[in-house]
Symmetry: C2
């Protein structure tokens, strides 16, 4: 075993970090190390300024005129294109609207419409659950359609894809383990069987390079409140490959997806472009905070983000395994950084209590039932010193047994 990095090594990593300057744009919580950006990203001065402008000027002073003068009307497609640039999507294929769950519903219906006569949706038993729940909802309205799950009907998703499959719904990064899938390869396999793929990018957008267009992707969805730092519950995005636009439909056919929404026509005539995947009026205050947050990404190289992400997560694994040996932790994330997103998960028999004790000590991660300590690493605002300190605190908590205190055993509503 090689020696653990020293304080000097850590300082050197921070001193040579090309993304280090971005940290000052964020409002990091005082005295805490926030390793939960994969659940809710940190606020930024940019987001606050945008939100103030939206609330105090655009809403309070300009009111209804802001739909034109402040560009509210085009925010969904404007923000869609800006997110598109971060996920390898050319303009006009991505729109910000609604929630990830709603967008899964739209994408599945659109995908199934492209593959009439096929009657299977393939997904993962280990998927973030709402994707499966939405697939169930789609199936409830389409008699004869059924769901096949990796981890239930077969171990590998590839083995479930045959010529009955209309669509494969799959997470690029697993929300519990951080395991990373190869978008290009799975898309190739699905296309080879005549199926299309809906990628859930919730845990990859803003965390690593996603090359949707280059991968031949069909559909993707994702949230904007994790690595994109758009604010709590900020609206989600949906991507539809240009070659499918004009050929796809989805049943959430609200007025914002109409080709002429302000003509107030009686019948629906869907926009031929990505606007068809809009539905109703979006929450503008939340959209404007997201717009501010996206300003931070101007000029950021996603490959630099990925390099730092791998370095941060590698460092955390090395330090934790080096310092917490024999203290009940088992790495459940892939050890190879190429197979891992920007998070690290350790199993522990009393993960809930350990996480509560960590939070009390100012290291904020989260717990995922039944036994996962999950730590997210956002390269835009975390330092290597943060990572080293977090590993030390974890060691202290485990060595001292402080997590056994009964006050850590009471579970809050949302964990």
């Amino acid at each position: 075993m090689t020696a653990l990095p020293t304080a000097d090594d850590i300082a050197h990593l921070d001193a040579t970090d090309p993304l280090a300057d971005l940290r000052r744009r964020f409002m990091l919580p005082d005295g805490e190390i926030y390793l939960d950006g994969n659940s809710l990203g940190v606020a930024s001065h940019d987001a606050m300024a945008a939100l103030d402008m939206a609330a105090r000027k655009e809403w309070a002073q300009d009111l209804i005129r802001s739909w034109n003068s402040a560009g509210w009307f085009d925010l969904p497609v404007e923000l869609g294109d800006r997110i598109g640039a971060l996920i390898g999507a050319g303009p006009g294929q991505t729109v910000v609207s609604d929630t990830t769950s709603i967008n899964v519903y739209k994408a599945l219906h659109a995908a199934i419409g492209l593959r009439e006569g096929r009657n299977v949706i393939v997904a993962e038993a280990g998927s973030f659950p709402t994707d499966l729940y939405m697939a169930e909802g789609v199936i409830s309205t389409l008699p004869g359609m059924s769901l096949r799950l990796e981890g239930r009907e077969a171990d590998r998703i590839e083995d479930l894809i045959d010529d009955h499959v209309a669509v494969v719904l799959v997470n690029q990064v697993n929300y519990r383990t951080g395991a990373l899938r190869d978008v290009t390869e799975l898309t190739r396999i699905a296309h080879g069987a005549g199926a299309v793929v809906v990628w859930d990018l919730c845990h990859s957008a803003g965390a690593l390079p996603v090359e949707l267009d280059a991968s031949g992707a069909d559909f993707a969805v994702g949230c904007t409140y994790k690595y994109l730092n758009g604010g709590p519950g900020a609206p989600a995005f949906i991507y539809v490959a240009r070659r499918h636009l004009g050929q796809v439909d989805q049943p959430l056919s609200g007025w914002w997806g109409h080709a002429r929404p302000f003509a107030f026509e009686t019948g629906y005539d869907g926009d031929p472009g990505i606007r068809r995947f809009q539905c109703g009026t979006q929450p503008i205050l939340s959209m404007r905070a997201l717009k501010g947050a996206l300003d931070i990404w101007d000029g950021v190289d996603m490959h630099a983000v990925r390099a730092k992400s791998m370095a941060l997560t590698d460092l955390f694994i090395r330090l934790v395994e080096g310092k917490c040996s024999g203290l009940g932790l088992t790495l459940t994330s892939p050890r190879d950084p190429q197979e891992r997103g920007s998070q690290v998960a350790f199993a522990h028999d009393d993960a809930y209590q350990v996480m509560q004790a960590l939070i009390e000590r100012g290291v904020i991660g989260d717990f995922r039932a039944p036994d996962v300590l999950r730590f997210g690493f956002t390269p835009l605002y975390l330092s290597f010193a943060d990572v080293a300190r977090a590993a030390d605190v974890l060691m202290e908590v485990l060595e001292s047994g402080s997590w056994r205190d009964e006050r850590f055993a009471v579970r809050a509503a949302v964990t």
Copy 2:
């Protein structure tokens, strides 16, 4: 014709207005008379304070913990109950989530599920269009279902309701004319034919007393950014009568509608209560602004709101008809205030240009194609003096012909 009210009469109306004190809680635009609260309600100090708290404290400082500590998790049902109190709905039947369009989709599916074997949706050709578009979306996934429209298949909606009809989707207040329907009477007729009703309350919630429970209503939806002043695009609400809860389902079955959303189960098990009508994570910043805006309603008597609304709209009609005779206006709203919501519409051949000229003079209403000048009257922040001044400006614009200036002929994207 009786004499028009004098300045003294107007002053007396304001001096004796029991709601006059509420005006100071709003951030009214400087030097303008805002008669567009039925499109986007005015900002309030309460909403701004709530938004600041949500952004600067709950998000920026407390981050992920705010799901518990700031009550974010329960906001949809908390705000649902508060709106419920304004629309005659007892607790546990209303939830704030998504958009009106999405909620129409949920409600229609749930309603149709209650009436298996019936295959007709009745709606209005003059409906706000998104309701019809969403009905089309529902029909696209349910073969054999069809749409019958008042104004197309019959003049009166009552004449379309027979034993083939599963659900009647209807606006309580017409978005163009302001015509008001009797909820109790139409619900009685629909129930008599074995159908259920989905009420769209977008133009009535917060404008007049709605007695959902007492009317025997089944479902209702509505937005929160008009008379409830929740902010641009603030999330919408959906009401499901208690007697239907536990028996209804809807296909947007996201994790927030699960009985145990944070157990991360593979299969969907919908909450038996109103939470089942949630889907994904809501935009918290917009939700919190709405929460602030709803504080203003504490202790407000909706019957006083209605009395002032009728007085404001009556005054406007009297003054405009008295002062603008022969200038090309035709009242298209019901003249009887009992049959009218809180808005007044006049037709004019060049309504778009006239409205632009009014806006330039500081009287903000809106235009609805092809020929409608629409004025909304929000009793919480408008004075009778505002109404008198607006009528004077309208007279001045029409008399002078200033609206004929070519700069008013260019249409903006959103009108």
